[in-house]
Amino acid sequence: MARFQGADAFGAPSDELSLLPFNFERTGTEQFLVSNMVGDFLRLTEDEIDRLIDLRLNPGDGLYEKAYASHLITGRNQMAQRQVLAMRLRSRMSFLRQVTPLHIFVVTLRCEHSCPYCQVSRQSTDRSRFDMSEQIAERALNIAFDSQAARIKIEFQGGEPLLNFELIKTIVSAAKLKSGATGKAVDFVIASNLALLDDTVLAFCKSHGVLLSTSLDGPADLHNKNRPRPGNNSHELAVSGIRRAKEALGPDRVGALMTTTEASLDRVDEIIDEYLRLGLDGIFLRPLSPFGFAIKTKQFQRYDAQNWLAFYERGLRRVLEINRQGTPFREFYAALILTRMLTDKPIGYVDLRSPAGVGIGALVYNYDGSVFASDEGRMLAEMGDNAFRLGHVNDNDYRSLVLSDRLIDSISNSLTQCAPECSTCVFESHCGADPVYHHATQGDDLGIKPLSEFCARQKGIMHLLLDILAKSPDDAAILRRWAAA
């Protein structure tokens, strides 16, 4: 029978110690941030890190205990800590067992908005040749149900997907039949500007458990500037749609996302207040992606990582203040990062994981039947770059798509576990690869990370969160609740 060993088994003298892998980053002249193999952090001085590497530690000296508790050292003949690290690493990476859980159906490229930062090449509403056909949809659905995940999510996008609502209904019905036949659970989301939301759509969403996701960039003048449409009433329609959807479907069945443009940078408080006013339970402070019309209209170049980080920090601190005043409200990206930093939950968020989420996290079925490794890959194709086009629903099945040379090359070339600077980064356990972003901005799936604004943003956010966790007990308690949710 296995028994606990006595305390003396955990007090090995220094000549019986073994160093375990860790990464570090210099944060000051003689200060280092250190992380172990599963991303637990601690701070050490230069003297401590030297003593640690040389194993000049003894029980009772403080550093010995810190290093042992943080899985930086172990007894040479002890297997337990190696096994604990392996088990934790396995838990963190177990999202790999659920392959391609997200399937995006671009049911139409038509849209009645003209957003300058739009990531797709939208067509005017009267060109129905940009709608997905039933035949394409059926083939795509077959591919989606061949994925290995036990539960899949089908997300309808566009253009404005409600312009092809009839096809959405057809796909949902067919998917539910397949779900019943195969035992594979399926969830549905419609990503819509809600301008076309009506009682028919709401009734359908209610009866079939469809979630709604919309865009809300802030107060009316900011939202309408970012999202022009005939009548200049995008904000009014979005707000009305959110309220109607919450009433009809429930408060947790509709969410909103914002996109940061140059016009947003000085107005984060107002943006957050708009979300509060509508009774939404949180906000996702997103940067602008470098795709589609955001490039053509030069929106993407209007601010850099430092500008955005300043915006993000102001926003996060505002959100924390709201929580301190008694209103639960989350910043969703911080919550996601914190879940990775403070727990071993397998976060398969497709935009921040390594191996990258392209293809094995999500597949995108375009209106014309082309299949892309990610939504950003589809957006890149609208700019004339088909690097992330994996095939066509008429020519490929699921296996040939996810086992394509292009996809495997992209994922393997961008692995952070092997990449220069990434592999030794103190934040590697909590970060991810974004081959589409780096392909778009640097012409290379891996990217040169010292030049990467993606990298600068991730590091900036994680440093900020660690700083708050260390220095502000009240805010740290709020952040820990987000991670535990």
Binding site: L19, P21, R26, A86, Q301, I448
Partner: protein, 125 residues
């Protein structure tokens, strides 16, 4: 006709000759300084400066070139650039020491983790 994709702005790989340049040379004893560490440090400093590494007699000579102001308009002088590079080299030397001592156990842990992960694929989800 092949489309030319728009090249997006990337910060700093010093080909832009518009601003005044700083040039700094730092050399190391090649009998004790790892070339791998120098190359890793040169990679990390890409955002600020380029680094060409030359092999001399018993020396590695690093030629750093940077603009006098960063892409954000912050001033940079030769001493600050040299100090930053030396810190980066020191850190890379430290990383090599850690890797040397831990590569074996790291591979054991990875094998334990992913061996289990692969094996459990046979289990029903």
């Amino acid at each position: 006709m092949r489309l030319t994709l728009p090249m997006l702005r990337m910060h700093q790989a010093v080909t832009d000759q518009r601003g005044a340049l700083i040039e700094v040379t730092v050399d190391f004893d090649s009998s004790i300084q790892s070339l791998n560490a120098l190359e890793a440090a040169a990679y990390r400093i890409i955002g600020i400066a380029t680094c060409e590494i030359e092999k001399g007699v018993d020396r590695f000579i690093c030629h750093l070139t940077a603009r006098k102001t960063s892409s954000r308009g912050e001033p940079l002088d030769a001493d600050a650039l040299k100090v930053k590079f030396l810190y980066l080299v020191t850190d890379e030397n430290l990383r090599l020491r850690i890797a040397d001592k831990t590569e074996g156990v790291r591979n054991v842990i990875l094998a334990l983790a992913f061996g289990s992960l692969a094996a459990s694929q046979k289990d029903p989800p």
